[in-house]
Symmetry: C2
Subunit: 92 residues, 2 copies
């Protein structure tokens, strides 16, 4: 999978990321992966839902993967949850 | 699916919900569904990850479903994202 087809969700407004998903899909990506960690996970779900319900109604959720990643910060190593939501074209 | 096998994640600490999942599983539930809406979605992923990595290592994620629900509040109707994480026993 090329990196262009991944949207990393952070702390910006939901619509910023929805626009990124729409742009990648309209640019020819068959699959768009939405990734997020920690508290941004809720926003990633919002992005997927808004994108497919309002803008890309021919897309569907192909798969959702959750995992745990290790993050090293000033306070030492800690675990953070992560999500990947894979959107793709509905079968015709 | 019986209602006992569903854990609704809200604003309490993650471990409260992990304990609920463990209790239901040890009480005989083959499938435990973790549900959350809005900002609690991130916590629901934490609950699933902590439960299966630390306590119930013979469980795995069977399916994850995201959806949009309509919520009516004082400020009118609004949409909120929701998640269902379905945990079940790994095939032996």
């Amino acid at each position: 999978m090329e990196n262009d087809d991944v949207v990393f969700v952070g702390n910006k407004p939901v619509m910023n990321y929805v626009l990124a998903v729409v742009t990648q899909y309209n640019g020819g990506a068959d699959i768009v992966t939405i990734k997020a960690r920690g508290r941004a996970i809720s926003r990633a779900v919002d992005v997927a839902e808004v994108a497919r319900n309002r803008f890309l109604t021919d897309m569907e959720v192909k798969n959702i993967i959750i995992s745990t990643e290790k993050v090293t910060s000033e306070r030492g190593e800690s675990n953070v949850s992560a999500i990947e939501i894979i959107l793709g074209k509905k079968p015709e």
